[in-house]
């Protein structure tokens, strides 16, 4: 696939990196010379210095032959113009546009085929807000991913050393097998798709697929805390902090937001109704104690600065908070912070990548979610008539080693499959797969012509 990315900021950079790793032909355009240099040094992509809103620039990037344009600058206006130009220069191109202003997103008909022809909007901030909200609902989980509009949930749970499941083999879970399935295990840097003979070890991060309705029972059985959070501290009142606070406003939750900048505080106070806005430094222990942080159910450290977020989370844990969510932008930090006891991390990068991956994959892929560490993915795909997977028992389908069907969604039913389950056409499948078997899986999911 040939892909043009406009904007080499954090989001553009990460997308370019991921796409180039999957052997796509990527062209990156940015106005900043330093960024272009950095990309040329680090990534296997073709980086161009120039403006993404210049038709000449887009032409010389080879837009006429490109399959996809990703407009990922910080400016909505630049992104919209870039996509308009792309539409003009190559009407059949797939356009993925980063938009932050909710007004544009809410305006119906603005983004449709006739006017701008945008195929997919990416809004990493709001994606991150959704992720955080999911995590607030299931405070015991380290990761929560929605599939099929939230009817199926993928929950990542860290197994504590004192858990009674440590050392148990997966096939001993068979009595619950109807209800849920362990799809992937992340142990240290390794990801693997489990077999019945594998055992659970301490500090494993296991990914469980389950129907949303069954979730509470399953979490109870796994001894995961699933009490809903009541008292929430948000530290950092930027775009993410505000959007989150706004979506939790006018609920019965008790939300406080702490922000250092008094001007931002004023604007937050004007726009929020019930949320209490506090002007102060989130790393100030006295302030946190004064506001009774020890009684908080969850602390969200989501300022724009990774180091501050890590410190706040550690401080909050020291002060007795059970659960913290830490926003980390630099991916290289993530293994480090796990080592010092921070378990739940959110980042813009995963959100941005998740939004575009479905357009890169072949077959009828509905959505793709990279799992922690990004060496494995959960894929939501539609089973096509004529492909090799339909109308035969699962144990007869030659799924590549390192992939497993986690759930089958058929109409209103969600089926957790076993070896005898049969996939029908139009079923939606949720498949776990290691990154290196994804090409094989793609071949399996596409139409078989003979």
């Amino acid at each position: 696939m040939k892909i043009i990315i406009v904007g080499a900021g954090e989001v553009g950079f990460h997308i370019a990196k991921r796409l180039s790793e999957e052997s796509n032909e990527v062209v990156l355009i940015d106005k900043d010379e330093d960024k272009i240099n950095r990309i040329n040094e680090n990534l296997d992509v073709y980086a161009l210095l120039g403006s993404g809103t210049s038709p000449q620039m887009l032409k010389s990037s080879g837009i006429a032959q490109a399959d996809m344009l990703i407009a990922a600058t910080d400016s909505d206006e630049v992104n919209l113009i870039a996509s308009m130009l792309a539409c003009h220069l190559n009407p059949s191109i797939i356009k993925v546009v980063r938009l932050r202003n909710q007004e544009y997103i809410r305006e119906e008909g603005l983004l449709n085929k006739d006017l701008l022809g945008i195929d997919q909007i990416i809004n990493p901030e709001s994606f991150m807000v959704d992720t955080i909200k999911n995590l607030i609902m299931v405070p015991g989980a380290s990761d929560v991913i929605d599939f099929d509009d939230g009817r199926v949930k993928l929950i990542g749970i860290t197994i504590k050393p004192d858990s009674e499941f440590v050392g148990r083999r997966f096939n001993t879970f068979s009595e619950h097998h109807e209800k849920f399935l362990v799809g992937a295990i992340i142990r240290g840097d390794q990801v693997f798709i489990p077999h019945g003979e594998d055992t659970i070890q301490a500090n494993d991060l296991i990914y469980v697929v389950a129907r949303s309705d069954d979730l509470n029972g399953i979490l109870g059985r796994l001894h995961v805390e699933h009490r809903e959070c009541k008292r929430i501290f948000i530290i950092g009142g930027g775009q993410v902090g505000f959007t989150l606070a706004q979506s939790l406003d006018n609920t019965n939750l008790n939300v406080k937001i702490i922000e250092k900048d008094s001007r931002i505080c004023n604007s937050l106070a004007d726009r929020l109704q019930k949320v209490i806005v506090i002007n102060g430094d989130g790393t100030d222990k006295d302030l946190l104690l004064e506001e009774n942080i020890a009684d908080a159910d969850i602390v969200l450290a989501i300022t724009g600065d990774d180091e501050t977020n890590v410190l706040i989370s550690l401080l909050a844990k020291r002060l007795g908070v059970k659960k913290t969510i830490t926003r980390i932008n630099k991916l290289s930090y993530i293994p480090l912070v796990f080592a010092i006891g921070i378990d739940t991390v959110v980042s813009r990068r995963l959100s941005a990548i998740r939004a575009i991956l479905q357009y890169v994959r072949k077959g009828k892929i509905i959505s793709v979610a990279p799992l922690k560490g990004e060496h494995a993915e959960a894929i939501e795909a539609e089973a096509l008539a004529g492909s090799n997977i339909v109308n035969r028992p699962l144990c007869k389908v030659k799924f590549p080693k390192g992939s497993i069907v986690g759930a089958i969604v058929r109409g209103d039913d969600v089926i957790i499959p076993n070896g005898q389950s049969i996939i029908q056409e139009k079923d939606r499948l949720i498949i776990f797969a290691l990154q290196n078997v994804i090409p094989k899986l793609e071949r399996l999911l596409t139409m078989h012509l003979d």
Partner: protein, 482 residues
């Protein structure tokens, strides 16, 4: 300051009053009353004065009204209207004394409804109708004043409602305000007509229906009957009047929006919601207090209790029961009703619900701040932050209101009234209600008050009606400096 523009506007007001005077004159002719000529002379005098002023101020230049001119037109407009309103009373000889006639007339124009008349029913129909028309016109003036002019002048924190007028232009008051005014007057007229019909259907004579409707909508409270609404003893009529008093106590721009199809606006609007809540809770308290104590049946307690609460809190002042004889708790609740008043943007007086809400919220904010010293807090109404200037202006307004109330009460007491009567007479006038307690209670009138007392009360009516600042600012020397 532009004296020519100011006089021009006042001359227009006078000419409109001349036209209004023709209505009672015609009625007088129809009923063959002796008040025909006094009314006709009043009309001619008014017409003459109006025309002279109008032609003297004739100019080719565009009329300019500055901020200060606006204040002057409003205040002197009301004072002049009071003078013209008094003419028929004096010329007809029914109220020969100037002070009494002016008191009656200004009480009408400020929609207070305080009367110095002993035997109202002895007056000819023409004069009675004029009394009601005065109130109705006063109400019209107040709607424009409270929705269009005062918010724009920023009086007493009312800049809150500025947003309702599309982009006010500083130098020219006229164009947009006249549009707003016309729309609101249509609403006012419509509701009045509906009330006349409902009262007439309920068996009230047509003349009485018109008079009562004309005095309900401006929350005035003049009645052509000595016993006010109690004269009819008809629960249906009381019910109709009670509902329309409440309507008159609600911001007229809400009625407009309701008629435009926003059916839930009364519940959505935060001020209206709280106003209705206050009315209901006061009715409940009074009904509980009255039941068994004064009235034997629960239904009667509700009937008289709710009518009096609605009448006093909307500052109308109609009566169906002598609430001065009620138990002490009920009387105190009514006194609180007097002070609270109706909604801003209505024809009612008092401190206004909106100011009460904001003061309560501001106080809560201060207490909350003690618990969270670092919190950034805002006083909000309907999701919007209220700027601190508006809040301080409201505090100033309320403090001034209560200060004047205390001062005027002391003067009245010094003139020989007992404390309750003195306090309630000032309340009844400054909040534009009408009847008070004690010697100015619902079955009494203001005739016996000494001369100085009457002028103090006249001043209070004007102060209360024009939201204090508009009048007091004229007493500041800085206002008159070039």
């Amino acid at each position: 300051m532009h004296p020519r523009s100011i006089l021009r506007f006042i001359s227009i007001i006078i000419l409109y009053l001349a036209i209004a005077l023709s209505v009672p004159t015609i009625v007088s002719v129809i009923y063959h009353e002796n008040s025909v000529f006094p009314l006709l002379y009043s009309m001619l005098i008014t017409l003459g004065v109006g025309l002279i002023l109008y032609f003297l101020t004739q100019t080719h230049k565009e009329l300019i009204l500055s901020h200060r001119d606006g204040i002057l037109v409003v205040t002197f407009g009301w004072i002049t209207a009071g003078l013209i309103g008094a003419l028929p009373f004096m010329l007809s000889g029914y109220i020969p004394d100037f002070t009494n006639a002016y008191f009656e007339s200004l009480s009408g124009f400020t929609t207070t409804g305080a009367s110095i008349l002993n035997n109202i029913e002895s007056l000819p129909k023409g004069i009675l109708l004029w009394r009601s028309i005065i109130q109705w016109l006063g109400g019209m003036g107040i709607i424009v004043l409270s929705i269009a002019i005062l918010p724009y002048l920023g009086v007493g924190g009312m800049q809150l409602y500025k947003a309702e007028i599309p982009s006010p232009v500083i130098e020219k008051l006229k164009p947009r305000i006249s549009d707003t005014a016309k729309t609101l007057w249509k609403v006012y007229l419509l509701i009045t007509v509906i009330e006349v019909i409902l009262l007439f259907v309920g068996g009230m004579p047509l003349f009485d229906s018109i008079c009562h409707a004309f005095c309900t909508m401006p929350t005035g409270g003049f009645s052509p009957k000595n016993l006010s609404i109690a004269h009819y003893g008809n629960p249906y009529l009381e019910c109709v009047i009670m509902v329309f008093m409440l309507l008159a106590g609600i911001n007229f721009s809400l009625h407009y929006r309701f008629l435009k199809g926003e059916s839930k606006i009364y519940v959505i609007d935060p001020e209206c919601r709280i106003f209705l809540l206050i009315v209901i809770s006061f009715i409940l308290i009074i009904v509980i207090d009255l039941y068994k104590e004064v009235y034997g049946s629960l239904l009667e307690s509700i009937r008289f209790g709710s009518f009096q609460v609605c009448s006093i809190i909307t500052t109308t002042g109609f009566v169906t029961a002598d609430f001065d004889k009620w138990p002490s708790l009920s009387r105190k609740i009514l006194l609180i009703c007097m002070i609270l008043g109706a909604m801003a943007g209505s024809t009612g007086g008092g401190i206004k619900t909106i100011r009460l809400i904001l003061i309560a919220k501001h106080s809560y904010k201060e207490i909350f701040q003690l618990i969270h010293p670092r919190a950034i807090l805002r006083v909000k109404l309907g999701g919007k932050s209220i700027p601190p200037e508006v809040l301080s202006s409201i505090w100033g307004f309320v403090f001034l209101y209560l200060g004047i109330l205390v001062l005027a009460s002391l003067i009245m007491a010094h003139l020989g009234m007992d404390m309750i009567s003195a306090f309630s007479s000032v309340c009844a006038c400054i909040f534009n209600i009408g009847p008070g307690l004690g010697t100015v209670g619902p079955t009494q009138n203001y005739l016996s008050i000494p001369l100085i007392g009457k002028w103090v009360l006249i001043f209070c009516m004007l102060l209360g009606r024009l939201e204090i600042y508009t009048v007091l600012v004229l007493l500041v020397p800085e206002f008159w400096k070039k």
